[in-house]
């Protein structure tokens, strides 16, 4: 795991020495702050439910920006070959980069705890749904990042990676809505694959192992495919 740790540190450092991390975090905080304050003013409810729904959507838009360069940049600049010839496994590379992107994602959502502080000062929030929502946000972040890495591994162009990543995440989000048009097996499959239903339970204060395993298994699948794609490139 020390290789994973090394790659994680390298990646996270590269995030924070470039302005992109700060830009992404600031954009996210403006948007989430706006929705939090708007919801609080309108509903006067000591809860994050309404604002987290919007925050989730912004995370969906911004995560491909975090992940777009992870592998595509290395492939384009040729550093991928160097990395592959060093004594690290493909899994170390992919998982280290995944953890780094997830780390940035966590840093991005961490400041939103100030919203919880406001709710605590001015109201009496139920911390149960807040905690479960953040568990959900973390798991969902893992899935979004893993999809982003996979797409980044499939192209050399960062912009293409970002756009395809964004389209993929939006499709994943929309699938949940499509499932409401029927209840045959394929609609049930769409419902299961779509992120919306799985996320919704967390915001209500329910932690369902179906949702947790959905996120973990889907993330694992995406990372596994990414490792295979990276591995196949090495031998081509």
């Amino acid at each position: 795991m020390s290789n994973v740790h090394t790659i994680f540190l390298r990646e996270i450092r590269s995030y924070f020495v470039s302005p992109i991390a700060y830009i992404v975090i600031s954009v996210f905080l403006v948007a989430s702050g706006f929705f939090f304050a708007g919801n609080l003013q309108f509903w006067q409810e000591a809860s994050l439910k309404g604002s987290l729904d919007s925050i989730q959507f912004f995370l969906l838009l911004l995560t491909p920006v975090i992940t777009m360069r992870l592998i595509s940049e290395e492939t384009k600049s040729g550093t991928m070959e160097t990395l592959m010839t060093s004594p690290v496994t493909d899994f170390d590379v992919v998982f280290g980069k995944f953890l780094a992107a997830l780390g940035l994602y966590m840093v991005m959502i961490l400041p939103t705890w100030i919203f919880v502080l406001f709710l605590y000062i001015f109201g009496n929030p139920d911390f149960g749904p807040i905690i479960s929502s953040y568990i959900g946000l973390t798991l969902m972040g893992g899935l979004f990042v893993s999809i982003g890495i996979l797409i980044s591994s499939l192209t050399r162009n960062q912009i293409v990676a970002a756009v395809i990543g964004l389209i993929s995440l939006i499709l994943l989000w929309v699938m949940g809505f499509l499932s409401s048009y029927g209840d045959s097996w394929y609609y049930q499959c769409l419902k299961y694959i779509g992120t919306f239903d799985h996320w919704e339970s967390f915001t209500k204060g329910i932690v369902d192992t179906r949702d947790v395993i959905y996120y973990l298994s889907f993330t694992a699948l995406m990372l596994f495919i990414t490792v295979r794609v990276v591995e196949s490139r090495k031998w081509r």
Partner: protein, 524 residues
């Protein structure tokens, strides 16, 4: 040294690429198959944890025990309109999810009333009901050949702050379709009663459908033909007779109910008959029903009149005297039938005065008024005789006017000394008297239960509550309703301004500032 690309090496490279591609494809397919398998298992075996402080989604131990002990599958179908304004809509679906989680015998299907027409038609065929009889915004529980419909209105406690009582209602519905014997209601025929198959304005077809939806069996009864009230009769319903019951028939009813003089049957057990009477007085006196003497034995006094009251003083037409009586608020005296009715108005149309007789020591039954007319009302004995009804203190019935009465066997006194002076019914032979014995409910009107008045807020509820009370189904499961756990924050405008600017500018500024510092340091 440059490696020359020979045809053999080209073939080898192509072969290697194909093998690598194939290997990757196979591995990806295998991983997807594993993912599908994990998802399949995951969807069927799962755990749920309720993180809410109020346990909003947690079911009581009583429900858990009932649901886990189910032997037959229960199919739950929701016919809910997607209405985001409806506060408890989501909570209904969430709590049904909890039922589904508790037992694989519970199958929940959510149908959209506007798009799932084919499935709704199939459901109506399964329930042997017309499409119109399936209520929009209801939850239908089906097990075997029994079904129970729960309308949304039953899911919310009617008094403010509108608590959610879904668990109690749903668990009760599950018990109803799986364990309880179906309650059989017989309605009498042959005395000009209202028709239970008639869906026109005067008929009781709507009420009949509502009873069937509530898992009651509704059957006709010709007393003269049967010569007795059938043994499987749980409730006898007399709905607006316009012709008199014979003495023989009233004796059959007496025999079924039990009277003060004869409370026990041949086996020495307390008689347990239930009677619901709705009178039809608007066209004349009640002597035609032939039931007055019978009802008197249960402490219920019926008068030959029509209740009217002065409604409004119109400039050109003067005081309007009407026979539409609106009952609401404190005009429902305290009783199990009316405890949930105060926010609902019941409209009676041409009722007679039905009152409770004062108690005497020799009476086995005690009657209580359950609905009263407005203070300005009176019982008019000369309807149709006078051009305009006017209160005549010599012949008319003075206020307060009662419109409905419920009677049941009196409780045994708790003071042992009192036994010496109490009537036979209070003897210790009849312990747990509150849980058995005859019950009678009499309404001075039948129109209020007819199809024409079904849409009036309280009418149908008052009838169904009375039937539940008579059938002793009023007993709650002891599962408390849940208050909506809405937590308000109290924020002054200045504080809100602070929160707003801190959220949209303060926090992002820190990010931009740190980013700027990093950029500046690296620039140097």
């Amino acid at each position: 040294m440059e490696v020359k690309k020979t045809p053999t090496s080209m073939v080898n490279v192509r072969k290697r690429k194909t093998l690598i591609g194939l290997n990757v494809a196979v591995m990806i397919i295998i991983s997807i198959v594993i993912f599908v398998f994990v998802s399949y298992i995951n969807d069927r075996h799962y755990f749920r944890f309720d993180f809410t402080a109020s346990g909003k989604y947690s079911l009581s131990n009583k429900t858990k025990k009932i649901v886990k002990g189910l032997e037959e599958p229960v199919f739950v179908t929701t016919l809910l309109q997607h209405n985001p304004d409806y506060r408890f809509h989501g909570q209904i679906l969430d709590i049904l999810e909890e039922y589904k989680y508790l037992s694989d015998k519970i199958k929940v299907t959510s149908l959209n009333p506007f798009t799932d027409q084919t499935k709704i038609t199939e459901l109506s065929e399964l329930l042997k009901m017309d499409l119109e009889q399936l209520q929009l915004n209801s939850i239908i529980f089906v097990s075997g050949d029994k079904s129970k419909h729960v309308p949304l209105t039953e899911v919310i406690e009617r008094s403010f702050p509108f608590k959610f009582k879904g668990e109690e209602v749903f668990t009760s519905a599950i018990l109803n379709v799986t364990q309880e014997k179906q309650t059989t209601i017989y309605y009498t025929k042959g005395h000009g009663e209202r028709d239970f198959e008639d869906f026109e304005r005067p008929g009781l077809g709507g009420l009949s459908s509502a009873l069937k939806r509530a898992n009651y069996k509704v059957l006709p009864l010709d007393l003269l033909k049967k010569k007795q009230v059938p043994e499987d009769c749980d409730l006898l319903f007399i709905a607006g007779p316009t012709k008199s019951f014979s003495t023989e028939e009233t004796n059959f009813i007496r025999d079924y109910l039990g009277t003060t003089a004869r409370l026990v049957d041949e086996k020495g057990e307390l008689k347990d008959g239930k009677l619901l009477v709705m009178l039809e007085p608007s066209l004349g006196s009640n002597t035609t029903s032939g039931l007055n003497a019978l009802l008197g034995e249960y402490g219920i006094m019926v008068r030959d009149d029509t209740v009217v009251y002065n409604k409004v003083n119109l400039p050109l037409f003067g005081m309007q005297t009407v026979s539409e009586i609106y009952v609401s608020d404190n005009k429902y005296p305290d009783h199990e039938i009316t405890q949930d009715m105060r926010s609902l108005t019941t409209l009676f149309f041409g009722s007679c005065v039905v009152s409770a007789a004062p108690l005497t020591d020799s009476m086995a039954f005690a009657a209580k008024v359950i609905a009263e007319a407005p203070d300005s009302s009176w019982g008019e004995t000369e309807v149709g005789v006078q051009k305009k009804p006017k209160y005549n203190q010599d012949v008319d019935v003075a206020a307060p006017i009662s419109l409905a009465v419920a009677s049941e066997l009196r409780e045994a006194p708790t003071n042992p000394q009192a036994d010496l002076h109490t009537p036979p019914h209070a003897s210790k032979l009849f312990e747990n008297i509150g849980e058995k014995g005859a019950r009678v409910v009499v309404f001075g009107d039948v129109d209020f239960a007819a199809n024409a008045f079904a849409n009036n807020p309280g009418n149908r509820d008052l009838v169904l509550n009375s039937i539940s009370w008579l059938a002793r189904k009023e007993k709650e499961l002891g599962i408390s309703a849940k208050a909506p756990d809405v937590r308000r924050s109290i924020i002054k405008p200045a504080q809100m301004t602070f929160i707003f600017w801190t959220s949209i500018a303060g926090l992002p500024f820190i990010g931009i500032l740190v980013g700027g510092i990093v950029w500046w340091i690296r620039r140097r």
